[in-house]
Protein backbone atom coordinates (compact mmCIF):
# COMPACT_ATOMS: atom_id res chain seq x y z
CA UNK A 1 0.00 0.00 0.00
CA UNK A 2 1.15 3.52 -0.79
CA UNK A 3 0.22 5.24 2.47
CA UNK A 4 0.83 8.83 1.52
CA UNK A 5 -0.74 8.34 -1.90
CA UNK A 6 -3.91 7.14 -0.17
CA UNK A 7 -3.84 10.02 2.29
CA UNK A 8 -3.63 12.50 -0.59
CA UNK A 9 -6.72 11.00 -2.16
CA UNK A 10 -8.61 11.03 1.13
CA UNK A 11 -7.62 14.62 1.80
CA UNK A 12 -8.93 15.59 -1.62
CA UNK A 13 -12.37 14.48 -0.44
CA UNK A 14 -12.71 11.06 -2.02
CA UNK A 15 -14.22 8.18 -0.08
CA UNK A 16 -11.41 5.72 -0.79
CA UNK A 17 -13.39 2.67 0.29
CA UNK A 18 -16.13 3.51 -2.21
CA UNK A 19 -13.54 4.17 -4.90
CA UNK A 20 -11.85 0.85 -4.16
CA UNK A 21 -15.14 -0.98 -4.42
CA UNK A 22 -15.68 0.59 -7.82
CA UNK A 23 -12.16 -0.26 -9.00
CA UNK A 24 -12.46 -3.87 -7.85
CA UNK A 25 -15.86 -4.29 -9.54
CA UNK A 26 -14.44 -2.81 -12.73
CA UNK A 27 -11.40 -5.06 -12.53
CA UNK A 28 -13.81 -7.99 -12.18
CA UNK A 29 -15.69 -6.78 -15.23
CA UNK A 30 -12.45 -6.69 -17.24
CA UNK A 31 -11.32 -10.17 -16.33
CA UNK A 32 -14.74 -11.76 -16.74
CA UNK A 33 -15.20 -9.98 -20.05
CA UNK A 34 -11.83 -11.32 -21.15
CA UNK A 35 -13.17 -14.81 -20.40
CA UNK A 36 -16.55 -14.31 -22.07
CA UNK A 37 -14.94 -12.66 -25.09
CA UNK A 38 -12.81 -15.77 -25.45
CA UNK A 39 -15.99 -17.78 -25.94
CA UNK A 40 -17.33 -15.21 -28.39
CA UNK A 41 -14.12 -15.08 -30.38
CA UNK A 42 -13.77 -18.81 -30.87
CA UNK A 43 -17.31 -18.88 -32.20
CA UNK A 44 -16.78 -16.03 -34.65
CA UNK A 45 -16.43 -18.16 -37.74
CA UNK A 46 -17.78 -18.23 -41.25
CA UNK A 47 -17.96 -15.41 -43.76
CA UNK A 48 -19.62 -12.98 -41.34
CA UNK A 49 -17.99 -14.07 -38.10
CA UNK A 50 -14.44 -13.96 -39.41
CA UNK A 51 -14.88 -10.29 -40.26
CA UNK A 52 -15.44 -9.44 -36.60
CA UNK A 53 -13.01 -11.89 -35.08
CA UNK A 54 -9.99 -9.61 -35.19
CA UNK A 55 -11.56 -6.66 -33.36
CA UNK A 56 -13.14 -9.02 -30.85
CA UNK A 57 -9.68 -10.43 -30.23
CA UNK A 58 -8.12 -6.97 -29.79
CA UNK A 59 -10.91 -5.96 -27.40
CA UNK A 60 -10.40 -9.21 -25.51
CA UNK A 61 -6.66 -8.68 -25.08
CA UNK A 62 -7.08 -5.03 -24.16
CA UNK A 63 -9.71 -5.87 -21.53
CA UNK A 64 -7.23 -8.25 -19.97
CA UNK A 65 -4.66 -5.43 -20.05
CA UNK A 66 -7.15 -3.20 -18.25
CA UNK A 67 -7.43 -5.77 -15.50
CA UNK A 68 -3.65 -5.92 -15.23
CA UNK A 69 -3.42 -2.13 -15.08
CA UNK A 70 -6.13 -1.75 -12.44
CA UNK A 71 -4.74 -4.26 -9.94
CA UNK A 72 -1.65 -2.28 -8.81
CA UNK A 73 -3.77 0.83 -8.22
CA UNK A 74 -6.22 -1.17 -6.10
CA UNK A 75 -3.38 -2.36 -3.87
CA UNK A 76 -1.69 1.04 -3.78
CA UNK A 77 -4.86 2.48 -2.29
CA UNK A 78 -5.05 -0.27 0.32
CA UNK A 79 -7.60 -2.48 -1.39
CA UNK A 80 -7.42 -6.11 -2.41
CA UNK A 81 -9.07 -8.65 -4.70
CA UNK A 82 -11.40 -11.35 -3.35
CA UNK A 83 -9.70 -14.63 -2.51
CA UNK A 84 -12.19 -16.68 -4.49
CA UNK A 85 -12.60 -16.36 -8.23
CA UNK A 86 -16.35 -17.08 -7.93
CA UNK A 87 -16.76 -14.08 -5.64
CA UNK A 88 -14.75 -11.94 -8.04
CA UNK A 89 -16.96 -12.96 -10.96
CA UNK A 90 -20.12 -12.13 -9.06
CA UNK A 91 -19.13 -8.57 -8.18
CA UNK A 92 -18.43 -7.60 -11.77
CA UNK A 93 -19.60 -4.10 -12.63
CA UNK A 94 -21.03 -5.39 -15.90
CA UNK A 95 -23.28 -8.35 -16.74
CA UNK A 96 -21.73 -11.42 -18.35
CA UNK A 97 -21.09 -10.99 -22.09
CA UNK A 98 -22.64 -14.38 -22.67
CA UNK A 99 -22.54 -16.29 -25.92
CA UNK A 100 -25.87 -15.83 -27.78
CA UNK A 101 -28.11 -18.89 -28.03
CA UNK A 102 -27.32 -19.01 -31.73
CA UNK A 103 -23.56 -18.39 -31.98
CA UNK A 104 -23.83 -18.14 -35.76
CA UNK A 105 -26.03 -15.05 -35.38
CA UNK A 106 -23.40 -12.38 -36.00
CA UNK A 107 -25.73 -9.49 -35.21
CA UNK A 108 -26.54 -11.03 -31.84
CA UNK A 109 -22.80 -11.43 -31.23
CA UNK A 110 -22.20 -7.77 -32.06
CA UNK A 111 -25.01 -6.66 -29.74
CA UNK A 112 -23.43 -8.58 -26.86
CA UNK A 113 -20.06 -7.01 -27.63
CA UNK A 114 -21.33 -3.45 -27.97
CA UNK A 115 -23.43 -3.69 -24.79
CA UNK A 116 -20.39 -4.90 -22.86
CA UNK A 117 -18.32 -1.99 -24.14
CA UNK A 118 -21.07 0.50 -23.34
CA UNK A 119 -21.24 -0.76 -19.80
CA UNK A 120 -17.48 -0.23 -19.54
CA UNK A 121 -17.67 3.27 -21.05
CA UNK A 122 -20.28 4.27 -18.47
CA UNK A 123 -18.28 2.69 -15.66
CA UNK A 124 -15.00 4.45 -16.43
CA UNK A 125 -16.75 7.74 -17.11
CA UNK A 126 -18.17 7.39 -13.61
CA UNK A 127 -14.68 6.75 -12.17
CA UNK A 128 -13.25 9.70 -14.12
CA UNK A 129 -16.01 12.00 -12.89
CA UNK A 130 -15.41 10.87 -9.33
CA UNK A 131 -11.63 11.30 -9.40
CA UNK A 132 -11.13 14.31 -11.70
CA UNK A 133 -8.96 16.91 -10.03
CA UNK A 134 -8.73 14.82 -6.86
CA UNK A 135 -7.05 11.48 -7.46
CA UNK A 136 -4.75 12.20 -10.38
CA UNK A 137 -3.28 8.73 -10.74
CA UNK A 138 -6.60 6.86 -10.71
CA UNK A 139 -8.02 9.47 -13.06
CA UNK A 140 -5.13 9.03 -15.47
CA UNK A 141 -5.59 5.26 -15.42
CA UNK A 142 -9.39 5.39 -15.77
CA UNK A 143 -9.09 7.89 -18.63
CA UNK A 144 -6.58 5.68 -20.44
CA UNK A 145 -8.92 2.71 -20.12
CA UNK A 146 -11.91 4.84 -21.13
CA UNK A 147 -10.10 5.87 -24.32
CA UNK A 148 -9.74 2.24 -25.32
CA UNK A 149 -13.28 1.28 -24.31
CA UNK A 150 -14.70 4.09 -26.43
CA UNK A 151 -12.78 2.77 -29.43
CA UNK A 152 -14.04 -0.77 -28.78
CA UNK A 153 -17.61 0.50 -28.64
CA UNK A 154 -17.09 2.37 -31.91
CA UNK A 155 -15.73 -0.68 -33.71
CA UNK A 156 -18.71 -2.85 -32.80
CA UNK A 157 -21.22 -0.04 -33.23
CA UNK A 158 -20.00 0.62 -36.75
CA UNK A 159 -20.32 -3.04 -37.65
CA UNK A 160 -23.94 -2.75 -36.53
CA UNK A 161 -24.29 0.20 -38.91
CA UNK A 162 -25.24 2.63 -36.15
CA UNK A 163 -23.32 5.47 -37.75
CA UNK A 164 -19.82 6.46 -38.82
CA UNK A 165 -17.08 7.55 -36.47
CA UNK A 166 -13.96 6.88 -38.48
CA UNK A 167 -12.12 4.58 -36.14
CA UNK A 168 -9.61 2.18 -37.57
CA UNK A 169 -8.15 -1.04 -36.31
CA UNK A 170 -5.08 -0.84 -34.17
CA UNK A 171 -1.84 -0.22 -35.98
CA UNK A 172 0.97 -1.89 -34.13
CA UNK A 173 0.68 -3.03 -30.56
CA UNK A 174 -2.52 -3.23 -28.53
CA UNK A 175 -3.51 -0.89 -25.68
CA UNK A 176 -2.01 2.37 -27.01
CA UNK A 177 -3.41 4.32 -24.05
CA UNK A 178 -3.04 1.82 -21.22
CA UNK A 179 0.35 0.38 -22.13
CA UNK A 180 2.18 3.02 -20.07
CA UNK A 181 0.68 1.41 -16.96
CA UNK A 182 1.89 -2.03 -17.96
CA UNK A 183 5.59 -1.31 -18.34
Amino acid sequence: MARVAREMVEQAGINVEELLELLVSNAAAELTTYYYYTLLRVNLIGLEGEGIKEIAEVARIEDRNHFEALVPRIYELGGSLPEKMNDFHDISACPPASLPKDPTDTIAMLKVLVEAERCAVRGYTHVCNMTAGKDHRTYDLALAILNEEVEHESWFSEFLGEGPSGHFMRRGESSPFVSKFLK
Binding site: E21, L22, H126, N129
Partner: protein, 78 residues
Amino acid sequence: MKEYTREELAQCTGKDGKPALIAAYGKVYDVSESYHWRGGRHHVLHRTGADLTAEFARAPHGAHLLERVPAVGTLQEG
Protein backbone atom coordinates in the same frame (compact mmCIF):
# COMPACT_ATOMS: atom_id res chain seq x y z
CA MET B 1 -50.31 2.44 -11.65
CA LYS B 2 -49.76 2.77 -7.93
CA GLU B 3 -48.85 6.16 -6.51
CA TYR B 4 -46.00 5.85 -3.99
CA THR B 5 -45.24 8.21 -1.15
CA ARG B 6 -41.57 8.86 -0.39
CA GLU B 7 -41.98 6.88 2.81
CA GLU B 8 -43.30 3.86 0.93
CA LEU B 9 -40.50 4.17 -1.62
CA ALA B 10 -37.87 4.32 1.13
CA GLN B 11 -39.00 0.92 2.39
CA CYS B 12 -38.62 -0.77 -1.00
CA THR B 13 -34.93 -1.58 -0.96
CA GLY B 14 -35.17 -5.21 -2.02
CA LYS B 15 -34.98 -6.47 1.55
CA ASP B 16 -37.59 -8.13 3.82
CA GLY B 17 -39.50 -9.47 0.83
CA LYS B 18 -40.06 -6.03 -0.66
CA PRO B 19 -39.14 -5.11 -4.23
CA ALA B 20 -36.14 -2.94 -5.05
CA LEU B 21 -37.57 0.33 -6.34
CA ILE B 22 -36.11 3.60 -7.50
CA ALA B 23 -37.80 6.79 -8.60
CA ALA B 24 -36.82 9.23 -11.32
CA TYR B 25 -38.65 12.07 -13.00
CA GLY B 26 -41.88 11.30 -11.18
CA LYS B 27 -42.01 7.61 -12.04
CA VAL B 28 -41.21 4.58 -9.92
CA TYR B 29 -39.26 1.68 -11.38
CA ASP B 30 -38.75 -1.89 -10.19
CA VAL B 31 -35.04 -2.78 -10.45
CA SER B 32 -35.31 -6.05 -8.50
CA GLU B 33 -34.24 -8.08 -11.53
CA SER B 34 -31.61 -5.68 -12.84
CA TYR B 35 -28.01 -6.85 -12.82
CA HIS B 36 -26.88 -3.28 -12.23
CA TRP B 37 -28.84 -3.01 -8.97
CA ARG B 38 -27.69 -6.20 -7.25
CA GLY B 39 -27.62 -5.81 -3.49
CA GLY B 40 -29.75 -2.70 -3.68
CA ARG B 41 -26.92 -0.53 -5.00
CA HIS B 42 -25.80 0.77 -8.36
CA HIS B 43 -22.11 1.53 -8.95
CA VAL B 44 -21.55 1.64 -5.20
CA LEU B 45 -22.95 5.14 -4.76
CA HIS B 46 -26.65 4.91 -5.57
CA ARG B 47 -29.24 3.21 -3.36
CA THR B 48 -32.66 1.71 -3.97
CA GLY B 49 -35.66 3.15 -2.16
CA ALA B 50 -34.78 6.67 -3.24
CA ASP B 51 -35.70 9.36 -5.74
CA LEU B 52 -32.65 9.56 -8.00
CA THR B 53 -33.80 12.38 -10.26
CA ALA B 54 -31.04 14.72 -9.10
CA GLU B 55 -28.42 11.99 -9.41
CA PHE B 56 -29.39 11.36 -13.02
CA ALA B 57 -28.09 14.80 -13.91
CA ARG B 58 -24.60 13.62 -12.95
CA ALA B 59 -24.90 10.08 -14.30
CA PRO B 60 -22.76 8.91 -17.23
CA HIS B 61 -25.92 7.76 -18.99
CA GLY B 62 -29.32 9.14 -19.86
CA ALA B 63 -32.71 8.33 -18.41
CA HIS B 64 -33.45 6.21 -21.49
CA LEU B 65 -31.84 3.27 -19.67
CA LEU B 66 -34.87 3.28 -17.37
CA GLU B 67 -36.82 1.83 -20.28
CA ARG B 68 -35.03 -1.45 -19.56
CA VAL B 69 -36.79 -1.89 -16.21
CA PRO B 70 -40.53 -1.99 -15.55
CA ALA B 71 -42.28 1.20 -14.48
CA VAL B 72 -44.56 0.24 -11.60
CA GLY B 73 -45.96 3.53 -10.39
CA THR B 74 -45.62 7.23 -9.89
CA LEU B 75 -44.05 9.18 -7.05
CA GLN B 76 -46.32 11.43 -5.04
CA GLU B 77 -45.14 15.03 -5.24
CA GLY B 78 -43.95 16.89 -2.20
